[in-house]
Symmetry: C2
Subunit: 376 residues, 2 copies
Amino acid sequence: MEFIINSENFNEAISEVSKAVSTKTPLQILTGIKVTASSDCLTLTGSNSDIIIEKSIPLMKDGVKIIEIVHEGSVVIPAKFLSEIVKKLPGKIHLKVNDNHLITIQSNEIVTSLNGLNSQEYPRIPKINKNYDLKIHGNELTEIIKQTVFAASKSEMKPVLTGVHMSFSKDKLTCVATNSHRLAMRERMIQSNIQCSIVVPSTSLNELLKLTEFELSEIKLFITENYIVFQSDSTTLYSRLIEGVYPNTSGLIPTDVKTTITLNTKQFLKGIDRACLFASEWRNNNVNLSIIEGSKLKISSNSSEVGKIEEIQTLKEITGQDELYISLDGSFLKDALKVIREEEIKISFSGSMRPILIEPVGNPTYLQLISPVRSY
Amino acid sequence: MEFIINSENFNEAISEVSKAVSTKTPLQILTGIKVTASSDCLTLTGSNSDIIIEKSIPLMKDGVKIIEIVHEGSVVIPAKFLSEIVKKLPGKIHLKVNDNHLITIQSNEIVTSLNGLNSQEYPRIPKINKNYDLKIHGNELTEIIKQTVFAASKSEMKPVLTGVHMSFSKDKLTCVATNSHRLAMRERMIQSNIQCSIVVPSTSLNELLKLTEFELSEIKLFITENYIVFQSDSTTLYSRLIEGVYPNTSGLIPTDVKTTITLNTKQFLKGIDRACLFASEWRNNNVNLSIIEGSKLKISSNSSEVGKIEEIQTLKEITGQDELYISLDGSFLKDALKVIREEEIKISFSGSMRPILIEPVGNPTYLQLISPVRSY
């Protein structure tokens, strides 16, 4: 294999696929990036046990030739060194591999040699059909993911809860994530060629959010027995699925609401953020909410050792009972409010030991639940 | 004590003095910031066992009143909470202390209470004379420090080497730092009212470099028996001195130079930086330099497991013997080159087991030495 490439384009592709490469893997071959030179493009692949990222660089970009393939072929190059070297090399990079997988990388008067690995030992990429199952714009996909993935469980006790549950029906995609103490559910109208339910690891979805190219492109989705595949023009992310039955969450949404308040999202987030300064001294980041004077919300938190904070916010609207006292995990509230784009939110309370329901005003496709904590 | 202050000015001062506050100290009083309201200014003090930073905020700034002192007095406030709360509070901040050192911080409808500490328990600030010993502009002082402090020892084995040796004579300040393997020496013409030699901890000097205000102001220096004091208009940094006799370093500068080369500083730094990618696999970051073809410099490094790098750089000038092979610690070379402002440097070699001498071309006030390492 031998090719010449513009260092900037090479660097960009290496940094994208490096996101899938773990330095901690016991499989030496997976610490490398597979580089394949074919007649029409250069392909880079990085992988760990959960995800695979594949990036193709075309020979021409904006009418300018950026790659010259001298000999086709492939090799696996240690990811850490490849990425660090290419960053520090100026101009054009000439990469060549000999029969013993010894790689020479040259730029002007700078010559680097690296020991590569046989690309035959690299794991096979799962096969996907040519026909996609669903098409969605990247910025919509990333919004759906951002609004749910944070609520998934961090604990491996119930593996199925560490993922986001995605249900595809003919005209609707529903995403749900929960860690048993909070839940986020987002729906979206789609045109889908499949009807199925899968659980995608939240670690994979968080990696997807880091792929800069994905936010700007149309994304094709493919679902196989063990994988979900997200594909833009030049980047493909494969994620394994989590096996197991996802719990039914439809019955959790409270129906016997006692009080509903409407208030400004950002102002409430700032108040919760301040209250969290003291709440962090508690085991559950306790922040207390209560209605005072029938029309105002008091946010408070205290830590007997350090001090306390209290603030009063004006409500836009209040319906139902005007008595309320509830303690919540402040960090859960912060996470919930950060991903709401709408200016105002509606919060429904069903009692001090029942989950609260948070909905953006004017958007019926998104809801969140947070269970209260006991305050002593 | 009671005062009202603009949150922005308070925040800025808190962040400056917080640099001296350690959260790890066993003395609870030192985890706080001492706040003193007097008739003409508000003074904040932060301290650890090595340094004290004192910042005065005047009542008026640019003709605008920024502080209103209601009652004079002082209190010690937990630094971590004070800093985090003030960052998150908008507009004007009203701070009040009662007789039990309970602090109330209020901003609009947000009320915070914090348990403070008795300011009588706060350590006394060392007394300084009214007359300064030396005056120097902040950007000159910070340059002198940056060019020497990195060469000090990180090991506490010889405490005196963890500091920078500052010698004041009537018309010259000489700063030297060394860790026995490298040395940096910088001189500067000054007008000094004292003649003495002191050793200042490099940790204190690194903190001084972080005080943004210092780079832009005239700095007055005061030297007492145990302290050096740096003072700008509103900020004062006190640093304890290191006791002990600093070794005589004047005899270390090589006199029997065999080869001298002149080359571009930045280009050389980039080459060393690349070579360090492989050098970091070695115990001593070995980077090899050799003269080839009588007029070129070869920079190389190799790690048998990963690979190797080699590059050729053109020399501006070479005098003396044109045979040379030497191994150096690449990270020492990088540190040395990063603080040289001049476009070209001169390197003098006295043999492969003798220290190299690095001098900026056209600047006789600065020199560095680096000892070679054995290469096997």
